[in-house]
Symmetry: C2
Subunit: 255 residues, 2 copies
């Protein structure tokens, strides 16, 4: 039985996961999280027991353009509301080692979540805990799944704002299509082969012109191909080099 | 011609890339970057025209455990020193669209850098610019390659500390082996097939015991396999379920 995906399905906008912050102490961290949400295409911010968010204070100061929408539109809710209405994903630096305890195990990394979340159609909330202690065991026990950011065993505890930034960065594949990032579609435009061939031919002419020893020319040409091959020359770069080499080859001998 | 990699080669420690911050205004951002360095296995911090880093101020307050080593060991250098002594990689949110200008093009994403950097043996510096304007065109022109973090076209400009955090997170594959993260080697331990088979057999017994209609049993068993299959049961989970199902099957009929 073969099923075809409906055309244009990949362009269907899914609701981005909600972001929830539980009992944050520092308004600056809430602002940092709001900014990362805006940077990576998230919209809906829920706050459980938030600090006061003074429009002239650090939350708004750290929020960048998110001060205009995400932060003022944030909703205060209870932890019960989160647990009862969302597929909750709790983020923690500290996991259990194996399934003797389920509070913090099994876990997914943010990169693994990015692969899997697009297939989940339920309202989903990414839940970040308070500074220092994160989410408590009691909170994690009520949460549906666990996410943990790999970091140095020497010091794996990330700042709240930084942990949320990394998680939202990884999950932008859920919220943004490639067309919706600021980057041009192509990070580089590789030169066409005929352009490259003309440049290599010009190099060969130049080697002859400067009397490069004949027995070394093949080896030198191979080296040049390796150098430019690794650099992934663009069309513009290859043409500029071709022009320079031509002028070097054709310049009149020293007078 | 076949070449074998020397055994144990993957465990050779490379020098982690140096991190350089140019003309940061906010001490807190320097602290945030130092903390991310320690979280992801970086050690060497260079500062060009830094703000004052008061041990009782925000730089140290935001640095976490990096206040003990990375921050006090940071070295003040000139931009010339950077450009002359390192393979420099400059981070910017704003790229050119194509190769009509080379100041901000071609670029790599942090994920692409993570793939490629391990093959570069030169001293390398990741260079982050000042808040608001980042690295200037004059600075970028002297830098060897460009890195840009994909983000929402609506608001691609990340906070300095957040941009550095994401870049260092992506590059931890250069500085840390999997053994050196805090996460256990296995994120989950999948139950052995014989354990799963015993659990499914027990489900089949239970379906019989509760008089589940015979014509529906195959379909129901398929559904159960799909449910548990997606959940990637651990050995402990499968055994617990097996025990529960056995007790449900064998319990005395209502008296």
């Amino acid at each position: 039985m073969s099923e075809e995906l409906p055309e244009g399905d990949s362009s269907v906008r899914r609701t981005p996961p909600t972001v929830a912050v539980v009992d944050a102490q520092a308004p600056g961290n809430v602002g940092t999280i709001a900014r990362a949400m805006k940077n990576f295409g998230f919209e809906d911010l829920l706050l459980v027991d938030p600090p006061e968010l003074d429009p002239d204070g650090e939350a708004y100061g750290f929020a960048g353009h998110a001060r205009e929408d995400i932060l003022p539109n944030a909703t205060e809710v209870s932890f019960d509301h989160l647990a009862e209405n969302y597929h909750t994903i709790g983020c923690t630096a500290v996991t259990n080692e194996d399934d003797r305890s389920h509070v913090r195990y099994p876990f997914s990394t943010p990169a693994e979540l990015a692969d899997r979340l697009p297939t989940v159609e339920a309202p989903t909330a990414l839940v970040f805990g308070r500074e220092r202690v994160g989410l408590t065991n009691e909170e994690l026990a009520r949460i549906d799944e666990i996410c943990s950011i790999p970091a140095s065993a020497d010091y794996p505890v990330l700042n709240l704002g930084q942990a949320a930034t990394i998680t939202l960065y990884e999950l932008q594949s859920v919220t943004l299509t490639d067309d919706e990032t600021q980057l041009p579609d192509l990070e580089r435009t590789r030169a066409a082969e005929p352009t490259l061939d003309r440049m290599y031919d010009q190099w060969a002419d130049l080697l002859e012109e400067i009397n490069h020893p004949e027995e070394k020319r093949d080896k030198t040409m191979r080296m040049l191909r390796r150098v430019y091959g690794r650099a992934d020359l663009t069309e513009g770069e290859a043409n500029t080099l071709l022009g320079l080499l031509r002028r070097a080859t054709e310049r009149p001998a020293d007078q």
